[in-house]
């Protein structure tokens, strides 16, 4: 089964966040709590951790991309 990881809404006014760092690559196995990527918005760096265990099968963006809140960033096959 595929689980999608979306851009979190970190603050009340947030519309987009910058994907400042990608910490897992397609093909990597992912455990719960592993940092998947980092988002920056309004001078806050947030390390986004995985709630799933599985294999990262898709990543739709590159480092430095601006991503809208709720847009799908990655897929994990669980």
């Amino acid at each position: 089964m595929k689980k999608t990881i979306t851009m979190p809404k970190l603050s009340a006014n947030m519309e987009t966040g910058v994907l400042v760092s990608i910490n897992k690559q397609v093909g990597d196995s992912v455990k719960k709590g592993d940092v998947l990527f980092e988002v920056e918005t309004e001078k806050v760096v947030s390390e986004v951790e995985s709630d799933e265990e599985g294999i990262l099968v898709k990543f739709f963006f590159k480092e430095g991309d601006s991503v809208k809140v709720d847009e799908v960033i990655a897929e994990i096959e669980v």
């Binding site: 760092s21 980092e38 001078k43 806050v44 760096v45």
Partner: protein, 323 residues
Amino acid sequence: MKYIVSTNDDVYFNLALEEYIFNNLKDNSYFMLWKNHDSIVLGKHQNVFEEINIKAIEKDNIKVARRITGGGTVFHDRGNLNYSFITAYDKNKFIDYDQFITPVIEALNTIGVKAEKRRTSDIAIEGKKISGSAQTVKGNRALHHGTLLYDADLYMLNHLLKTTDGKIESKSVKSVPSIVTNIKDHLGDKSMTIDQFQDLLLATMFSKGIEKFEITDQHIEAVNELVENKYSKWEWNYGNSPDFSYEKKSLAFSKPIDVKLTVKKGIIHSCAIKGKDFPCNDMEESLSGTIYSYNLVKDKLLKCNSLKNIKNINYDELANCFF
């Protein structure tokens, strides 16, 4: 909440101490006050080369440090007081600056400083910035920290943060420049030192009392290890900059010279130079693979044999064309 006043003014040490507490001491909340000797502190995902006056920083031997929070580049000296809140964070709630900034503003107001919030994360007096702040959140912990310009050298601040007049393109997080002012200039009693201001701020913010956190030798040892393995490393401070391209059209000894560089992880990856009166191929070859540092680029140019044929060559003027 417990408080810590760092007695060390080394920027690497203080950033490491902050990160150590953030990652390891999760049983309590902490409020930390700290000052650094002259240094530049940049946001976690910034391109250092896009934010600083590289030549001036190398000439004055200013330490450059990358922090783990977001946001832009700031100058620290002994006239700037930094504060940090390291607390629990609820993932299901939105990120909030006010819970940390408001107590600082209220304390400043009590002291007699007409400070107010500006934008999301700044504090200003009459529209001029005295404080900027940034955060990082990880799991269930948050780190919020900010600067307080008390009696900082604003000439140095503007001088060291003056960026290149060449064109840089990258996907880095950019700084937002602001007009700044020192808190001391807005106080009735101008005899207060920054150390007295620090004590007063702490006493005013925690008027009901706050317990001191005692740093042990064991903590110091772990912090020093973090300094050694991370904060003092060129790879962390400079090498972690996002890749960028650089373009500058200049005159060297009254002759036009166009420079195009791509820099990856702080190292010149490719170099294209146009200028009919210069031995461009030789310079290009020599600079590829060099760390993008003013002193190192100048050293490479000094060793370029074909440049030695140019009469009255000024290597500083030529090196300026690359920054």
